[in-house]
């Protein structure tokens, strides 16, 4: 009997099904979920609602839009370069429309800035931002913004402005979401923006305060004190500048009734360890969270010294150069507010600009606003600190930090009477920071925008607390002024440039009275200037910060003062030329000394060729200048030759060129080196341990030889080919750290000492906005590097860069003039 045929198992369909499930699973997974660096591909690349919508977003045409909350129609005119002119019939509508326009072009930037301030970056970028978020929540920008908001009375004009502005931002968020026009970065990162609140605007203001004003300098000073010793630290990093500077307020000053500043004493090991732990933590934070040195210029020329007969004003705040830029240019017109200039997206006011009668700009004042306190604790009093003779309980605030792709983190912040405790290692250290005190800056800026004379301008600034700024002023009557507004904290006694005991004796007790802060009005020489230099002479009766480490070395201010104080009258063109001035004041002092030192010295062929380049040099750091390259290499080698042996022998834990501290230590040491070279060539600093007895000329010769050898190795060829542009470039960095969307690096002129500030290799900081006002000709001009839109596909992403790069300015048109200009786009906003 034949057996029944066996049925073959159906293997192939099963294999097929398994393969189909696997492949489909993979495809659907990467389509629906982010995988590694890739976003969820489906929503991200969906051609109708994904990142491709940036193509539509890049178009700006004539439009009629309906906005919730508007009371009357509003007109918005865009010049061909993107400058916005907003004209409203009520103040409320003006601020609402400003919020809408800001959000239309900068919503992602605004969201990043508020997230930074409120410690919620981890929510979108994952645990990489967790340390930043923890630090921000500890420092307290969110707490300060909430306090500022709660302190605004219902009748306060800035409260109304903030509410209207938030409504405008939220109108745009709603519109963008329903039209699938959110910025592509939201799509690619896979999140939607939360509604905007007035507190978010205050957080953005807080970010700027932190960037400009929160320093770790006392920690650095503590480390220097411990490693270098008290004698060298006090000699090399003194309170008063060792070099000759050009303060804008020469006095005379009113008498102060404060205690004298004490001399530096040795720190304990525990205090030094605590300072080092905290310093390392702060140094590891991303750029921008700690103030990294000042660099901004502003000046004014009275009508009596100007060609046009009207006052001149020039301002160029130097900040991190980003794409999109920190600035958004606009004019704001309503019955109660007329201002033109630049605003920070996220805030409803013009920060730098002019109105019908006055113009203003600002630079960072650089005075010390951050103080560290070592809290006294012991095991018998857990959760407490000793202050004013009694044990006090820390106040504790807890925060949950959502983390993208991970579990939420929690941070408890302990608060002493001084401020948040931001380190726990070895020694609890708290930070007293003026940026944590409520400062109604937006209200001040509103009143500045409405001011018509110096008295009103000065009165408005009385309420400006932090960050301290040098506000320069020029009006349509030919008057000029400069006032360094803000808090100047005074401590009862102690050494405020070091971490101080937190037991109460060294607490901040107040501030310098407003009438005694640095300020001038219509000075006899008809010029005023600030470039982050110390504003006052040594005879000023208050401590405002260490000259070496808080204030700029002063070379930009020296150069600006040199140019402005020349005989003859000045024009707006002269202002523009000075803004792009590349003359290095320090080089003009040092190079003649170097050439004198090298005269008669046996030199190699390359060294002789290098000397020939330096002879006859005009000290301009131009891109095609060979002497500029040689000077820069020499100065760096000279610093190294003098100070490296000390750093090595004393094992100093802070690098001389580290960016983490407020100013590079080399900026401070350079002032010493300049002074010794000119006036004290036998200073003991030149005879470092291990190098024997030397003088300044010995160190100069060695440094010059090393500099030429280094350049020959790096650049090769004849010295005549070593142009500055080969080693020095500038770069505008994408705000989201997408290197492909950077601009540059591109060869550029200038250095850290030139009015056209361009320190670094490549330089990423510099004039973030240039403005020149001539009241005599009623001419207003300005430009910033970048463009109005954050969308990289927009023609307004980098359209202003070339104008800025070449040192030119665009006219700042009035709304009426803009409306009749060629190529404008018009929006009609309706209720």
């Amino acid at each position: 009997m034949a057996s029944a045929p066996k049925r073959r198992p159906r293997i192939r369909p099963i294999i097929n099904l398994v393969a189909a499930i696997l492949v489909t699973g993979m495809v659907l997974f990467v389509a629906f979920f982010p995988a590694g660096p890739l976003p969820a591909l489906g929503p991200a690349f969906n051609p109708t609602t994904g990142a491709w919508t940036m193509a539509a977003d890049a178009q700006v045409g004539d439009q009629t839009l309906r906005l919730q909350g508007l009371r009357q129609p509003v007109s918005v005119v865009f010049e061909s370069n993107g400058t916005a002119h907003i004209t409203a019939q009520t103040d409320h509508d003006l601020f609402l429309a400003t919020g809408y326009v800001h959000a239309r072009f900068r919503l992602f930037q605004m969201d990043l800035m508020r997230r930074q301030g409120e410690g919620r970056l981890s929510e979108i970028v994952g645990k990489a931002a967790l340390d930043t978020d923890r630090f921000e929540l500890q420092l307290g920008l969110l707490r300060t913004a909430q306090t500022e908001w709660s302190q605004l009375s219902t009748s306060d004009a800035s409260r109304d402005a903030l509410i209207a502005y938030a409504q405008g931002v939220n109108d745009r968020i709603g519109e963008a979401e329903s039209a699938h026009q959110l910025d592509a970065m939201f799509t690619l990162l896979g999140y939607r923006p939360q509604p905007w609140s007035p507190i978010d605007s205050l957080l953005v203001k807080g970010d700027m305060t932190q960037t400009l004003n929160f320093t770790d300098t006392p920690l650095v000073m503590a480390l220097l004190n411990k490693s270098l010793g008290t004698d060298l630290t006090s000699e090399w990093f003194p309170v008063q500048p060792p070099n000759l500077q050009a303060p804008y307020d020469p006095g005379p000053y009113a008498k102060a009734s404060t205690a004298p500043i004490e001399t530096v004493t040795q720190l304990t090991d525990a205090e030094a360890q605590s300072a080092e732990a905290l310093y390392q933590r702060l140094a590891a934070l991303p750029p921008g969270l700690i103030s990294q040195g000042g660099a901004s210029n502003n000046w004014a020329v009275a009508g009596a010294k100007s060609v046009s007969g009207g006052a001149l004003l020039a301002g160029d705040p130097h900040l991190h150069l980003t794409l999109p830029a920190i600035w958004f240019q606009l004019t704001m017109d309503s019955p109660g507010y007329h201002a033109a200039g630049v605003s920070i997206p996220g805030t409803p006011v013009v920060l730098i600009g002019h109105n019908e009668h006055i113009a203003w700009s600002l630079t960072d004042a650089q005075n010390q606003q951050t103080f560290f306190y070592n809290e006294k604790e012991d095991n018998a009093h857990p959760g407490m600190y000793f202050w004013n003779g009694a044990w006090q309980k820390y106040r504790t605030v807890g925060y949950d930090i959502p983390v993208h792709g991970g579990q939420a983190a929690h941070v408890d912040v302990r608060l002493s009477v001084h401020g948040p405790v931001i380190t726990e290692r070895g020694q609890a250290t708290s930070v007293w920071w003026a940026g944590n005190l409520p400062s109604q800056d937006l209200g001040v800026l509103l009143r500045i925008g409405q001011a018509a004379n110096y008295q009103q301008f000065r009165d408005a600034l009385r309420d400006w607390h932090s960050p301290t700024h040098n506000f320069v002023y020029a009006d349509d009557k030919g008057n000029i002024g400069l006032i360094s507004a803000g808090y100047y904290p005074l401590v009862a006694h102690g050494q405020p440039w070091l971490p101080m005991p937190g037991t109460g004796e060294n607490d901040v007790t107040g501030t310098i009275p407003y009438d005694q802060i640095p300020q001038v009005y219509n000075p006899p020489d008809n010029i005023i200037w600030s470039a982050n230099q110390r504003q006052v002479k040594a005879s000023y009766p208050y401590y405002i910060g260490t000259a070496s480490n808080f204030f700029d070395p002063g070379y930009r201010a020296d150069e600006i003062h040199r140019v402005l104080s020349r005989p003859g009258k000045l024009s707006a063109s002269d202002m523009m030329a000075l803004q792009t001035d590349t003359r290095d004041f320090l080089a003009s002092e040092m190079v003649p000394v170097l050439l004198q030192t090298l005269a008669g010295t046996q030199l190699s062929a390359k060294e002789s060729a290098a000397v020939a380049q330096l002879r006859g040099w005009d000290y301009r750091m131009d891109a095609d200048s060979v002497a500029a390259t040689i000077w820069n290499a020499f100065w760096s080698a000279y610093l190294d030759e003098t100070f490296s042996p000390w750093w090595k022998s004393r094992a100093v834990p802070v690098g001389r060129e580290e960016e983490g501290n407020s100013n590079k230590l080399d900026d401070a040491l350079g002032q010493d080196l300049e002074t010794w070279t000119l006036h004290d060539p036998a200073n003991r600093a030149f005879s470092a341990p291990g190098v024997g007895s030397r003088t300044a000329p010995d160190a100069q010769k060695a440094a010059f030889q090393k500099a030429v050898a280094q350049l020959a190795q790096k650049l090769g060829g004849a010295p005549s080919s070593w142009s500055w542009g080969r080693v020095h470039a500038r770069q505008l960095e994408n705000l989201a750290h997408i290197t492909g969307l950077n601009y540059g690096p591109r060869q550029d002129r200038g250095d850290a000492n030139t009015p056209l500030a361009a320190g670094g290799f490549p330089s990423t900081h510099g004039p973030s906005w240039r403005m020149v006002v001539d009241w005599g000709a009623r001419s207003f001009q300005g430009v910033y590097p970048g463009g109005q839109s954050e969308n990289p596909a927009s023609p307004w992403y980098t359209n202003r860069v070339d104008t800025w790069w070449s040192g030119l300015l665009d006219p700042m048109l009035s709304a009426d003039a803009a409306a009749s200009a060629a190529g404008v786009k018009k929006w009609s906003l309706r209720p």
Partner: protein
């Protein structure tokens, strides 16, 4: 045209239109279900899978082509390439985008066909 061929043509056209409408309305995953529908309705994988694939491709291609005609996609594709770390290779985001649409249609049809081959009675 043969009725069977006509039926398939109508089916294909309907599928592409549905997939396209879905994508235009923001439902970017529609091609997957259209592909799956092809796989369930058309019993021959050799026909269903290519149809699903093409419908997915077209459903993502047409809106992209429309955007190109209206706005020009050059700066956008280069920007996306930069964001993704592909330097200035602007064609890569386009290829990636079309690949996603294509794969959605393909896998939908393939999975449906594979399930069909298991659950349907096999011809003797």
């Amino acid at each position: 045209m043969e009725p069977a061929a006509l039926r398939i043509a109508v089916l294909v056209l309907t599928g592409v239109i549905v997939a396209l409408l879905g994508v235009l309305l923001g439902a970017w995953w529609t091609p997957f279900f259209v592909g799956a529908a092809f796989g369930l309705i058309i019993r021959r994988p050799a026909v269903a899978i290519p149809l699903g694939t093409v419908s997915g491709l077209l459903a993502w291609l047409f809106p992209l082509a429309g955007a190109q005609l209206r706005y020009g996609l050059g700066p956008t594709s280069v920007s996306l390439a930069e964001i993704m770390g592909f330097d200035h290779q602007g064609t890569l985001p386009v290829v990636l985008t079309l690949l996603v649409g294509t794969l959605l249609g393909l896998t939908g049809a393939w999975l449906a066909c594979a399930v069909g081959m298991i659950v349907r009675p096999q011809p003797r």
